[in-house]
């Protein structure tokens, strides 16, 4: 059984008239990855996996072959007893395996793993890309097993979703929210990060770049391994704020940046719930910001109660407090974790805006934004991001953020910078 703990990092002291409380709530789960440890599902049929493979014409023979190898690597990671299905997608979507007489999903065993591998051999590149249809089929597959609580999909694409309207894709994504989680991977340099990020973000999954087809197998293996280790099916973050307070935002800030604010569902007038998806043994940090009516000096107030809730039962709780003080040495301190994550969030936004401006041909805006990003990365000592930025811009001066757009910057480097922007480094205490 998984154990969850919550820690709060904040400066609870507010100056006279101060209203905004920021806190990082760190939630850590242990003992959640019971399933992978035993090698077989403790409770057969309690988890379901769908692998969505792009078989559009742009993938080509080599791409589809590599995707097939990747799917097989993923199959090797799926523990016996897990229900699974493989879907090939182009302008439409079809189930490659299990065969039609077996139903939409079949339990993993050495026999079905072998059959699935042979079915994958038959995949051919052909047609366009309409990811909405793939997701819709995945949803229909998962809906055949309503009793299965842990539902996960892997989506692989290599191109722009030109086979349907953006509205149609959005509608499909919306219909899948809450039905299953989806990790998305883009291969090559012809796909659009914002499009795929939209899918992954809404479906509580990750998004990343696979630069070359040969690297797909390793990526699929690690993605599926991670999914198998998630022993806690689904949970939600519950945030209570006092009467009269305003919840400014709730963001996941580690391991990746994800603004949860718009995903709020109402538990009661003072409490909102935000889906977190499945948990393995891991640590996630959330940034909660609350605006309170200022109280008189010396007063104290609970600013927020942040709980991780499994099936409605709180399993971990962090209390965010506010105390008004006239002691400047207390009130002027900014908590290091809050400061660091605020900086990382600004860096991510700046990079994404800069790359979007560059793609739109607004070179002056792009230069300014990416220059600011270089400056922020320098200030926060984020060397990894500085290295990635260097591949897109020539840096004249880190401190002032003076940069020039690189003439021959490769598309892959831009994609890589974009996908990496939302990955944060954990703030240590």
């Amino acid at each position: 059984m998984a154990d969850f703990t919550a820690e709060v990092f904040q400066n609870e002291f507010l100056p006279d008239g101060g209203t905004d409380v920021h806190a990082i709530v760190r939630i850590t789960s242990t003992g959640a990855s019971a399933a992978s440890a035993s090698g077989a599902l403790a409770d057969p049929g309690s988890a379901a996996e769908v692998i969505l493979i792009d078989t559009s014409g742009s993938m080509g023979r080599r791409g589809v072959a590599a995707a097939g190898e990747a799917a097989k690597a993923a199959l090797a990671e799926i523990v016996d007893g897990t229900l699974f299905s493989i879907v090939a997608g182009n302008g439409t979507a079809q189930i490659v395996y299990p065969y039609s007489h077996q139903g939409a999903l079949v339990a993993m065993s050495s026999h079905t793993r072998g059959e699935a591998s042979r079915a994958i051999e038959g995949l051919r590149a052909n047609g366009g890309t309409a990811m909405g249809t793939w997701l819709t089929l995945a949803r229909q597959i998962f809906e055949t097993v309503p009793h299965v609580t842990k539902r996960h999909a892997i989506l692989l694409t290599d191109g722009v979703n030109e086979g349907e309207t953006p509205q149609s894709l959005q509608a499909a994504v919306r219909s899948c929210v809450g039905v299953f989680q989806c990790d998305c991977r883009g291969v090559g340099d012809q796909w659009r990060v914002d499009e795929v990020r939209g899918i992954a973000s809404a479906l509580l999954g990750s998004v990343d770049l696979i630069p070359a087809p040969e690297e797909m197998a390793a990526e699929f293996q690690s993605m599926m391994r991670a999914s198998m280790s998630r022993g806690v099916a689904s949970s939600e973050l519950r945030v209570w704020v006092p009467q009269g307070a305003e919840l400014l935002f709730v963001k996941q800030v580690s391991p990746t940046l994800e603004d949860l604010t718009p995903r709020r569902t109402v538990v009661n007038p003072l409490t909102g719930a935000y889906p977190t998806g499945a948990w393995s043994d891991e640590t996630r940090d959330y940034h909660v910001a609350v605006r309170l009516p200022a109280r008189t000096l010396g007063q104290e107030q609970l600013a927020a109660r942040v709980q991780l809730s499994l099936g409605g039962d709180p399993v971990a709780q962090g209390l965010v407090k506010a105390k008004w003080s006239n002691d400047d040495s207390l009130t002027t301190r900014i908590d290091p974790a809050v400061a660091a994550y605020t900086g990382q969030a600004e860096l991510a936004t700046t990079i994404q805006e800069g790359l979007a401006a560059k793609a739109a041909g607004q070179d002056d805006v792009a230069t300014a934004k990416l220059g600011r990003a270089v400056q922020l990365a320098g200030l926060t000592g984020n060397d990894e991001m500085t290295t990635r930025l260097k591949k897109v811009v020539d840096i004249d001066d880190v401190d002032t953020g003076t940069v020039r757009l690189k003439k021959g910057a490769s598309k892959i480097d831009e994609l890589s910078l974009d996908t990496a922007s939302t990955k944060t480094s954990r703030v240590r205490r």
Binding site: P242, L297, E300, L302, R305, S325
Partner: protein, 458 residues
């Protein structure tokens, strides 16, 4: 709950169930959770390590309501058929008696309502206290250390308040009094030095220790006023010494700023008053009659006082840059000479006031303080529901000071200081003395001249 009367119950059934319950209760005891801030503390703690709340007082208060609630409501919870004939019966609230068969203790009236009330939020009235905060408005329940009231007798009362600007109440107060007006009272006020750590714990330890010492009646000696003054002076000096030891013992760790506090105490015994102080907490005598001057008994150990002695006007000295620096205090780094400034006097009709600088910062002159007291007394309606009998001798005060209870007036003075800004913690303790009407041991002639007696112990 260990002294709950179950041991002598006539049949074993309630004993066994109670034993079990007490066992459970003992299991819950070790981490003594602070009712104010929720911090777990070691079971033997007297004060919360986090917020300084008095755990003993609150534990005693809740022990008064809880055990009765749980133990009186469980008649014979299936402890076997043998006991069926002697199943504990509980009389209606108020009619129970130890002579009842299977008496299980007094039944508190509506114990559940009382328990609910404790959990209700006092700030918004809509939420309940969960994890130490209201689940509706987020306000923690008031820290009992931040504001407390003592009314040991109708003629003695005081209020200790955090004020408006400080985050912790480092003032402390300890009062005691016997019922008959003017008979015997002890008023102690200690002001923790805010530069030091844990001064709120130290000051309360000092005040309660001093009260314990001064609660012992003074030896009569040969019965002369001089003999009494000498005994009383020795008792006060002893109280300071013991309070000092309590301050040192309050915090065991070797901290860079060991806690320290001031000391001001007054003892009334049959209409005679002895007052003593160390530091800048004060005792005032504020007689009713305008014919008699209002005076501060004793003097401050402060930089301001030294300046006044050197000729600087009071207002200037008390508002100067180091006005609040004290020259003597109780604590580990206290000066060697802790002899209090002692005064003995026989009281006429009037008010004995012991306070911290949280009050006199806003009204320092004794005459001004008397006027203020009479002013707030005229402003209060004089009734706080306790039907204050203060032993007035019939002299018709033109204001309300002989009708308002000490606690109501003390609160009014605290309110005044808060309205002025409440920059410091505020403590006001008052004793109403009625002069000749109730004092028999003193001669009227001796009443007008308070005697400064620094060497009374010698």
């Amino acid at each position: 709950m260990t002294d709950f009367p179950t041991a002598g119950a006539p049949d074993p059934a309630p004993v066994s169930t109670d034993d079990r319950r007490q066992g459970e209760a003992r299991d819950e005891l070790p981490p003594r959770q602070c009712p104010a801030c929720g911090t777990p503390n070691p079971a033997d703690s007297s004060f919360c390590e986090a917020c300084g709340a008095d755990l003993v007082v609150t534990a005693r208060a809740s022990a008064g309501a809880d055990p009765g609630a749980t133990e009186a409501t469980g008649p014979g919870s299936g402890d076997g058929p043998v006991m069926a004939s002697a199943a504990p019966q509980t009389a209606p609230a108020g009619e129970e008696s130890p002579l009842d068969v299977g008496w299980t203790g007094a039944v508190p009236v509506a114990p559940e309502a009382a328990a609910d009330d404790e959990l209700m939020c006092h700030a918004c009235g809509q939420g309940r206290i969960v994890d130490g905060y209201c689940d509706h408005c987020g306000t923690p329940p008031p820290n009992p250390r931040d504001h407390f009231v003592e009314s040991p007798a109708p003629w003695v009362g005081g209020v200790c308040d955090i004020g408006r600007r400080h985050t912790r109440n480092e003032d402390a107060m300890a009062l005691s009094a016997t019922e008959a007006p003017g008979s015997r009272a002890v008023l102690v006020v200690c002001d923790g030095v805010s530069m030091a750590s844990d001064s709120h714990i130290a000051s309360l330890a000092a005040a309660t220790e001093a009260r314990a010492v001064l609660d012992q009646p003074f030896a009569r000696g040969v019965g002369t006023p001089d003999a009494w003054a000498a005994t009383a002076g020795r008792a006060l000096t002893t109280a300071v010494t013991r309070a000092n030891e309590a301050v040192i013992a309050a915090v065991v760790e070797d901290v860079p700023n060991p806690p320290s506090c001031t000391f001001a105490a007054a003892v009334v015994e049959d209409g005679v008053v002895v007052a003593g102080n160390v530091g800048d907490s004060r005792v005032y005598w504020l007689p009713d009659s305008d014919q008699e001057p209002a005076v501060q008994l004793g003097r401050d150990d402060s930089f301001a006082q030294e300046q006044m002695v050197a000729g600087v006007p009071r207002l200037e000295a008390e508002t100067g840059p180091h006005a609040h620096s004290i020259t003597r205090w109780l604590g580990k780094d206290a000066p060697d000479d802790l002899t209090p400034h002692l005064t003995t006097m026989t009281a006429t009709a009037g008010w004995l006031l012991v306070c911290s600088d949280g009050l006199w910062n806003y009204c320092s002159e004794a005459e001004a303080l008397r006027a203020l007291l009479h002013g707030v007394a005229a402003g209060t309606d004089g009734t706080d529901g306790t039907d204050g009998t203060d032993g007035t001798d019939g002299t018709d005060g033109t204001d309300g000071t002989d009708r308002a209870t000490p606690t109501v007036l003390a609160q009014a003075l605290v309110d005044f200081a808060n309205e002025q800004g409440g920059r410091d913690n505020i403590t006001v303790a008052l004793a109403r003395l009625a002069g000749r009407g109730s004092t028999t041991t003193s001669e009227p002639a001796a009443t007008t001249a308070p005697v400064e007696g620094d060497r009374a112990d010698g």
